[in-house]
C-alpha cells in the first residue's frame, strides 16, 4: 500500500529537551490514521513539522511521495488540508467570507465552498459571524477550510478538543466518513485511545517524543486489554469455579482476573452466577498507553527469545 506520509528519524530539539525523537511515521493511503499520545508527547510538534510550520532538528518528511522542502512546501500543502491545535477563523467575518479567503489563497473557485459547508453541516449558518459560533461550529468550520479543494491528505490535530459529547460524536462520524466521502487520507491526533478506537484503522502511539507503536488498530487492541475486576457477594462459592478454569481464587470479595476474550469472560460470569457466588460488578480495566507499550515491548522481547 502506498504511503501518503512518511518520516525518517524525525527529531525536534528545544534546548536540551527532545520533543520529537527519531519518529518514523508511515501513513497508508486512504485510511484514517490515529496519532495517539498523552499531552506533551510530541504529537503537535510532529504534525507541525509535517506541515513545515517548524523546522526539524534532524530527519526527513515525505508527503505524497515527495520529500518536503522549502521549495515544494506550498505546492504539497495545496494538496493538504490541516487544522492544528485550534480551529482558525476570522471572528468578525462570516463562515462564507472566511472560506472565500481560504479559497482565494488555495486558488479554488468559490463554488467549492457550498460543497464543504454541506459536508460539515454549516450551510444554514454560513452567513453568521464566526465570533457567534460555538466551539463545535468553529471546529467544523476549521475542517471545512481543510476540506476546500478536495485535498488528498487531511492533518487534524485533536479536532474533538473542547467539544461536548454530542459534538464529539458528530466529529467522529464526520472524520470516519471522510476517506469514502472525499477520498482523503486522514491523520488525526488525540490523547484518548478510547476516542480513537471508534474511528481509526491504523494507529501510531507516541510518548516523550518516542514512537512506541505503529500498526493496525486490531493489533493494538490485543495489547490494550487489561485485568478484569469481579466483585462477588460470596467468594467462597466462586473459588471452585475459578480454580476449575485455571484462575486464582481467594477470600476477597473482589477477584482480579487476567485479560480474557469477551466470550470466555461471559462464560465465566455465567458459571459464577450459577454457582451462587453473587456477581454484582464486572469492571474491565483498559491499559494506559505506557502499560500497552510495556505489553507490546514485552511481547516483542518474548518473540525474540
Amino acid at each position: 500500500m502506498q504511503t501518503v506520509i512518511e518520516t525518517k528519524a524525525l527529531c525536534k530539539q528545544y534546548g536540551s529537551r527532545m520533543a520529537v525523537d527519531h519518529v518514523e511515521l508511515h501513513v497508508p493511503q486512504g485510511c484514517v490514521y490515529g496519532f495517539i499520545g498523552p499531552n506533551g508527547a510530541g504529537k503537535s510538534t510532529t504534525m507541525k513539522m509535517l506541515l513545515g510550520l517548524i523546522h526539524p532538528t534532524a530527519g526527513q518528511v515525505t508527503l505524497l511521495g515527495q520529500t518536503l522542502n522549502e521549495k515544494n512546501r506550498l505546492a504539497l500543502l495545496r494538496q493538504t488540508g490541516s487544522m492544528i491545535e485550534s480551529p482558525a477563523g476570522y471572528l468578525h467575518l462570516t463562515a462564507q467570507e472566511n472560506l472565500e479567503i481560504v479559497a482565494d489563497l488555495k486558488d479554488i473557485p468559490y463554488k467549492d465552498i457550498a460543497r464543504v459547508l454541506d459536508i460539515v453541516h454549516l450551510t444554514q449558518d454560513k452567513n453568521r459571524r464566526v465570533g457567534q459560533y460555538s466551539l463545535g461550529m468553529k471546529q467544523r468550520l476549521g475542517i471545512a477550510m481543510a476540506l476546500l479543494g478536495s485535498p488528498k491528505l487531511l492533518i487534524l490535530d485533536e479536532p474533538t478538543n473542547g467539544l461536548d459529547p454530542a459534538g464529539i460524536q458528530e466529529m467522529r462520524t464526520l472524520i470516519q466518513s471522510m476517506p469514502a466521502a472525499t477520498g482523503a487520507t486522514v491523520l488525526i491526533s488525540s490523547h484518548l485511545l478510547g476516542e480513537m478506537e471508534q474511528m481509526v484503522e491504523q494507529v501510531g502511539i507516541i510518548d516523550h517524543g518516542h514512537m512506541l507503536f505503529e500498526g493496525p488498530l486490531s493489533q493494538l487492541q490485543r495489547h490494550s486489554r487489561g485485568d478484569v475486576a469481579v466483585r462477588l457477594l460470596n467468594p467462597a462459592k466462586a473459588a471452585p469455579v475459578l480454580r476449575a478454569n485455571g484462575l486464582p481464587a481467594g477470600d476477597s470479595c473482589t477477584v482480579t482476573l487476567p485479560p480474557l476474550q469477551d466470550a470466555l469472560l461471559a462464560d465465566l460470569v455465567q458459571k459464577l452466577a450459577d454457582s451462587g457466588a453473587g456477581v454484582v460488578e464486572v469492571t474491565p480495566h483498559t491499559k494506559s498507553l505506557e502499560e500497552i507499550f510495556l505489553s507490546l515491548t514485552g511481547t516483542e522481547a518474548a518473540h525474540h527469545e
Partner: protein
C-alpha cells in the same frame, strides 16, 4: 503578492479601519479650525501658523493611531488563530509584505486626508497667505516617515507579545514623552522618536510680541538629516518585524 494583498482587503471587511484613517485627520482639522485666525495680520500668516501647530497635533494623535492600526492588523490573526493556517497557504514573505503594504496604504490615506484638510481649511477660512505647497508636501513626507517608523515599531511589539496592550501602552507613554520633548531644547527631542513630528517641522516662532500677544511664524530649514534618520529607523524596524515573522515558529 496581489493575492495576499487582496486577502488583506477581505480581512479588513467589517474591521472599520477606514474610520480610524478618517477620524485622525478629522480630529486634527477640527482642532486646527477651532483656532481660526482673526484679522488681516493673522490671515496673512495663517498657513504658517497651521503648519507650525500640525506637528504638535500629530505628536498627540499619530502614535496612538499607529498603535491601533498596527495592532489591529496582526490582532486579527491572533484572535482568529489563523497564523498556522496562513503559513500552510502562503509564504511568510507574502503575508508580511501584504500587511506592510496594507498598513502603509492606510497611513498614506491618513496623511493625504490631513494635508487635504489643511488646504481645505485655508480655503474655507480665507487665508491670505500664499499657499505653501512645497512646505505642505515636506510636512506630508515627514509625517508619513514618522508614522511608518512608529507603525513598524508597534507592529514589532504586537508580533513579540501577540497582544495589543503593550503596543497601546507604549504609544500612550510615547505620546506623552513626545509632547514633553516638543517643548524641550531641540537636542532632547532627537532622543524621543514619538515626537519627531516637531523637530521635523519647517516653521518656527519668528516674532513673539508679549505686549500685544501676537506671534509671527517664519520658516526654518528642512531637517533632511533627521528625516533620513527617521527613514533609517523605519527600515530597521521593518527588517526586525520581518525577521520575527520569518523565524518565529508557530
Amino acid at each position: 503578492m496581489n493575492k495576499a494583498l487582496h486577502t488583506e482587503f477581505q480581512k479588513a471587511h467589517r474591521r472599520h479601519d477606514l474610520w480610524i484613517c478618517l477620524a485622525v485627520p478629522l480630529a486634527a482639522a477640527i482642532w486646527s479650525a477651532s483656532a481660526m485666525p482673526r484679522g488681516a495680520d493673522e490671515l496673512a500668516n495663517a498657513y504658517s501658523a497651521l503648519l507650525y501647530s500640525l506637528p504638535v497635533l500629530n505628536t498627540v494623535l499619530m502614535p496612538l493611531a499607529m498603535a491601533v492600526l498596527a495592532s489591529r492588523l496582526w490582532d486579527v490573526e491572533v484572535k482568529g488563530c489563523t497564523v498556522k493556517l496562513l503559513y500552510t497557504l502562503q509564504t511568510r514573505r507574502s503575508l508580511f509584505a501584504a500587511k506592510a503594504v496594507f498598513g502603509a496604504g492606510e497611513i498614506l490615506l491618513m496623511v493625504l486626508l490631513e494635508l487635504a484638510a489643511t488646504a481645505l481649511l485655508g480655503y474655507i477660512q480665507h487665508y491670505t497667505e500664499a499657499f505653501p505647497a512645497a512646505q505642505l508636501a515636506y510636512l506630508g513626507v515627514c509625517t508619513y516617515g514618522v508614522n511608518l517608523m512608529l507603525f513598524f515599531s508597534e507592529l514589532l511589539l504586537m508580533l513579540v507579545f501577540s497582544n495589543p496592550m503593550p503596543a497601546l501602552c507604549v504609544a500612550i507613554v510615547g505620546t506623552l514623552l513626545g509632547l514633553f520633548s516638543a517643548f524641550m531644547p531641540r537636542l532632547v527631542s532627537y532622543f524621543v522618536p514619538w515626537g519627531y513630528y516637531v523637530p521635523l517641522g519647517c516653521y518656527e516662532v519668528a516674532v513673539w510680541n508679549e505686549a500685544e500677544h501676537t506671534v509671527l511664524y517664519g520658516m526654518t530649514r528642512y531637517n533632511w538629516g533627521l528625516l533620513g534618520f527617521t527613514m533609517l529607523l523605519a527600515a530597521l524596524l521593518f527588517a526586525a518585524a520581518w525577521q520575527l515573522i520569518r523565524n518565529k515558529e508557530v
